[in-house]
Symmetry: C2
Subunit: 203 residues, 2 copies
DNA sequence: TCGCGATGTTGTCAGTGACAACATGAAGAT
DNA sequence: ATCTTCATGTTGTCACTGACAACATCGCGA
């Protein structure tokens, strides 16, 4: 019988994402992951310093995937900076529905306390993407007199907050994703209109 | 030596709030609470069915305290429904800073999955307070054409999301509370202006 | 004074995380 | 082909945890 799994680190991360999506972060157990993957209880310790280290790695990957998705959504939205930031906000919620485990782990307070370089770098890149899009929208005419830090806090809080509430409030459970995305879209439109043209018509 | 603590349930909840504020929810341990309070490891089991039950009780208390604080803030804001809802939003963030443990436990996904009747009632009362204030603000002229469910999601996501981000993002750590409340105030003003008069001047 | 329920206690079991020491596999150097 | 080294498995152990059982004490009401 072979001792070498060959790809255990990736398998642990993938399996962890499945468990988190199904049962939540607190249900994650290194020993259970090892059992699921057919290795001994100490094998995960060869790839991750401890349970927090695995969660940090998963959160780093989550941030990277989310940043990539946001950049893709922004690029697909054309040249209008207001439409681009609106698309970014909608993609935050869409991403959380496509990847509940990655989203949850990026937002979990236990993980945020972990000072892992890879995670901090991924978080920084996420912040840079949001900041650049917010600054461009403001420069184009959205809330020009507002402090950018407050604008950023406002828009990320609304998008991340809406994603979290839609994910876990029982009143939204069971509703079709397309309906939840529509509600989220209206929330994002309250944050920033869907286009510069729409912004001009508001004023 | 007396066997009867006399007030163990309350002491457990108080001590749990302290541990959560200092170390986070995942650091909470029933045995450690029992040690801290000088009782045996099984004593907490006489007051709470399990660890999740204690967290649910703490979250129920957190919701009750937050609802009371929101109602007080709304009442203190006078008769203008727009000013009242703005004050409610600011109080969400102020409460989270005064009572970090209660706030965290009300927002924790692990706790939200717990179907405890007292917690669900407290959550319902919180939702009723927010819904009533949002409906009154809308009736007075704030976003009159918008779906109330989307408006509510927008405003609660922004307020709760801002509170969470200010609490745990390292870029805000160490800043004086008065400064964080000022940033939060600007975020809430972006959700809803501070008065009906200010709302009229925007249009 | 007695009985009963509330609320403590000691004890046990299974699971966990973390770590140590040992075992195997793969890759590179000779 | 062989040897060495590092990566990555293994078994084992310890302390802590949650949960539960059985027993012990306390307080209150009859």
């Amino acid at each position: 019988m072979t001792y070498h799994h060959g790809n255990l680190r990736s398998a642990l991360l993938d399996r962890a994402a499945t468990v988190i999506a199904e049962e939540g972060i607190e249900a994650l157990s290194l020993r259970a992951l090892a059992r699921d993957l057919g290795v001994s209880h100490a094998a995960p310790g060869r790839h991750f310093k401890d349970r927090a280290d695995l969660l940090a790695a998963l959160a780093a990957e989550g941030h990277r995937r989310m940043t990539a998705a946001l950049n893709a959504a922004v690029a697909a939205a054309g040249d209008d900076p207001v439409a681009r930031y609106n698309a970014l906000g909608r993609e935050v919620v869409a991403f959380s529905m496509r990847h509940p485990a990655y989203f949850q782990v990026t937002q979990h307070p236990e993980v945020e306390r972990h000072s892992d370089p890879s995670l901090m770098a991924a978080r920084q890149a996420f912040g840079d993407t949001v900041r650049a899009a917010a600054a461009a929208a403001q420069a184009a005419g959205w809330r020009p007199d507002e402090d950018l830090e407050a604008l950023q806090l406002f828009s990320t809080a609304a998008a991340l907050g809406a994603a979290s509430v839609l994910m876990r409030q029982s009143k939204f459970a069971g509703r079709p994703t397309v309906e939840l995305l529509a509600i989220a879209g209206r929330v994002i439109d309250l944050v920033i209109p869907p286009s510069l043209e729409a912004l001009r018509q508001e004023s």
